[in-house]
Amino acid sequence: MNPERTQNKAASNSRTSSQYKMDRVIGYTLQAGVLLSLTLVTAGMLWQWLKTGRLRLDDALRGMNLFHLATEQARLGVQGHWGPRLLVNLGVIMLMLTPYARVLVSAMYFMVILKNWKYSLVTSIVFAVLTYSLFIR
């Protein structure tokens, strides 16, 4: 086999192994978000069922942006106003924060670990635009 080809293959193998590592990091970030959200929503619904005998929780979230809602609900939690509604609300917030966290983790990974400037730039733009869209009221 000619040396250039061997070198190419080695480069492609190392690219594959770093890709596979990043796949795991992103995969577990998404899984953690989904499982946390699932746990909170399930716990909230169970609590509602034990309290009222019904699964029904009829309530619309007041119109506000995601960060505003997240801080408001977190404050309620800190003040000890725990209940089925707070748990379900936190589950919904956690779900919405999952893709956001995924973009943030990807941007950090490209920047700090892979030092890939092209994709650091790409993911930073996505992160900035997404942050902007989350502040729309």
Binding site: Q31, G63, N65, V92, T98, V122
Partner: protein, 275 residues
């Protein structure tokens, strides 16, 4: 208020179809909810949460199985999210009835184009310099074929503006437009069906989040409706991912074609009815 025993199975189906097709499940959930008596705006708002749940739940599996092309996903989602914001600001200027008809026709056209490429199965063209610069090649271990599949993404210079267009459609109509994302990766960029389906699944979470935040700000997200939907959708998406990784590329393509046809019909009917 819809009873749990209706909402839960419908959501499981939506998550399953969404994870298997790369569409996110709005195609099932929005019409099902409106049929069960939910007003269309609330139905779309919950569908956005459904897409986030399907996308995150299924992508967590697909990414770890190396099916998703992360770089293609990140590069393309930059265009789709900019398109979505542009679309959302233009939404008042264009009649939604016309949009549904136009979108439905585009989907029908793509459906026919996909059927034809299935028969051709032609020679792959060499990778262009821009796509090579973007590092759009990849490989994944295929469970159905028992070997590692290597592929090269192509024509990113066409895929990028097309993704901007897909984002605009999504923003204008308040849908995920996952179908267009799969089509662009399939027809323009030459990814294998499993890669385009799972990469679309990976991307739509971000577009749907931008959409969901608009509905959240408008106070249209009903937690009572959302809670059982989230549970059902995550379960359905989990089932869908288990099946997809075991299927062949042809089977994934065939499933997508079926869902695409249903979606196209749904859009044309909405257009004819006047949304």
């Amino acid at each position: 208020m819809i009873p749990f025993h209706w909402l839960f199975p419908v959501s499981i189906l939506a998550g399953f179809v969404g994870a298997m097709s790369g569409l996110g499940g709005g195609v099932v959930l929005t019409p099902a909810l409106t049929w069960l008596g939910v007003d269309i705006k609330h139905a779309i708002a919950v569908s956005m949460l459904c897409i986030i749940a399907t996308s995150s739940g299924s992508a967590s599996v697909y990414v770890r199985r190396h099916l998703v092309n992360l770089k293609a996903g990140m590069f393309l989602e930059m265009f789709t999210i900019l398109g979505a914001l542009t679309g959302a600001t233009l939404t008042l200027l264009i009649s939604s009835r016309f949009l549904y008809l136009a979108f439905g026709s585009v989907l029908l056209g793509s459906w026919m184009a996909l059927i034809r490429t299935k028969r051709q199965n032609g020679q792959p063209t060499p990778q262009d310099r821009f796509s090579h610069w973007l590092e759009l090649e990849g490989s994944y271990p295929d469970q159905a074929q028992g070997e590692t599949i290597h592929y090269q993404g192509r024509r990113a210079y066409l895929g990028a503006p097309a993704m901007f267009g897909a984002g605009m459609i999504a923003g204008l109509l308040g849908i995920g437009a996952g179908a267009v994302k799969v089509l662009i990766q399939d027809l323009i960029m030459g990814f294998p069906p499993k890669v385009s389906t799972t990469t679309s699944n990976f991307m739509i979470g971000v577009t749907a989040l931008a959409g969901a935040s608009v509905y959240l700000a408008a106070g249209l997200i009903n937690v009572g409706l959302a809670a059982p939907v989230i549970l059902g959708v995550i379960l359905g998406a989990w089932l869908g991912t288990r099946l997809l990784v075991r299927l062949t590329n042809q089977a994934v393509r065939r499933f997508f074609l079926l869902i695409l046809l249903i979606l196209a019909a749904e859009m044309v009917i909405r257009g004819l009815r006047g949304a």
